[in-house]
Symmetry: C2
Subunit: 219 residues, 2 copies
């Protein structure tokens, strides 16, 4: 697919473990209605088998297709290929970005989590379409997220890396604290619980999207 940095405006990351017991398909539908621009399936720490994850992924893929929202799969390139997803997102402890690029080819989107300029520089050979940087703020959705690096990390990576891929901030972001992330140079924000565990995911997504767009138009 053709990747545009504007797809990072509001990047919704979710698995069944994040939905407060509600149907992930419903949560995704609501999030899309609220204005998310990209979706990542991140099934982690749930009780689903991989077979059940494939079945869930197929349901969510159909929803994404219907609304033309690209689907990225976290960590497992094999699952991404089985689902016919648009791309793969890897962290520093996952399969190396350049290996995943070789595997999925240049027509698929590759995203890489990077906290520091050093990590960002190491993704160069992979030609990652975007970098996810965080945690921006303290978060409970990702127990292994480590200490927040704050919006300054976005500025830092952009300053140190020539022709830096677009950056999306992640970790503890809400409509109330998204503005500094965008001001620091991120193309958008990625969220899990701010949408997935919101009482009204549609409204939560709408508020986040509006905050991002307003901040961008004044940047």
């Amino acid at each position: 697919m053709d990747f545009s940095p504007s797809l990072l405006r509001l990047y919704f990351v979710m698995g069944s473990q994040d939905c407060a017991g509600r149907d992930p398909a419903w949560v995704l539908e609501e999030a899309i209605a609220g204005g998310i621009t990209l979706f990542q399936l991140r099934e982690k720490g749930s009780s689903l088998t991989l077979g059940e994850t494939v079945a869930l992924g197929r349901r969510l893929k159909a929803i994404c297709d219907e609304h033309r929202i690209p689907l990225i799969v976290n960590d497992r390139a094999d699952l991404a290929m089985i689902l016919g997803a648009d791309g793969v997102h890897v962290g520093q402890d996952d399969l190396p970005a350049d290996e995943v690029r070789q595997l999925i080819g240049t027509r698929s989107v590759l995203g890489v989590s990077c906290e520091t300029p050093e990590e960002a520089l190491q993704t160069r050979n992979s030609g990652a379409e975007y970098i996810g940087t965080g945690a921006m703020y303290a978060t409970s959705s990702k127990p292994d997220a480590g200490k927040p690096v704050g919006p300054a990390a976005v500025e830092h990576i952009r300053a140190e890396m020539k022709s830096c891929p677009p950056i999306v901030g992640i970790g503890g972001i809400t409509a109330a604290n998204a503005t500094p992330v965008i001001r620091a140079g991120a193309e958008g924000v990625a969220v899990i619980s701010a949408i997935a565990s919101a009482e009204n995911p549609r409204r939560a997504a709408g508020n986040l999207r509006e905050t991002v767009e307003t901040t961008l138009s004044n940047r």
Copy 2:
């Protein structure tokens, strides 16, 4: 690759977590010298990142290539493809066998763990080259292995499934208890700790191989 059931004679399954602190490459070299016929990389519960697992996998693949021992990768088809492995082995909670088959194609080997005839029958669409059945006996290498099903499970699956793929028994097998597994109709035995944690992996493999061959020649 062309899969022959005789590759199942002595199937060595191993990851760095199984080697009692020794270099997995050394353990594999010794196991090959002792007579293993097939190798599965099963990196599970270790502290290696996936990047480190790729690096380890490359070292072990080079050893397998040198000695013409096929390399199967446990669970992750993406890792198998990155390593250029000969096949993938999946359990009941891993990616569904028929999905993996679609992904890796018919030139790669697909193995599936099945405890019961029902599970074995479900692998039909995948055209699995072999079935792994166990645990034959109590085992400590695989904490999630469940209660032993015993060699009778091999007979049971073969009796219930017409044109059953070749079966390899796994779980708690040593040279001292391998004979009933082969007598029950298995083409061979798969072992982890009997070789990987043996003081002398080469001798352990040699004893196992000899037991399997002797039992087969009298079957």
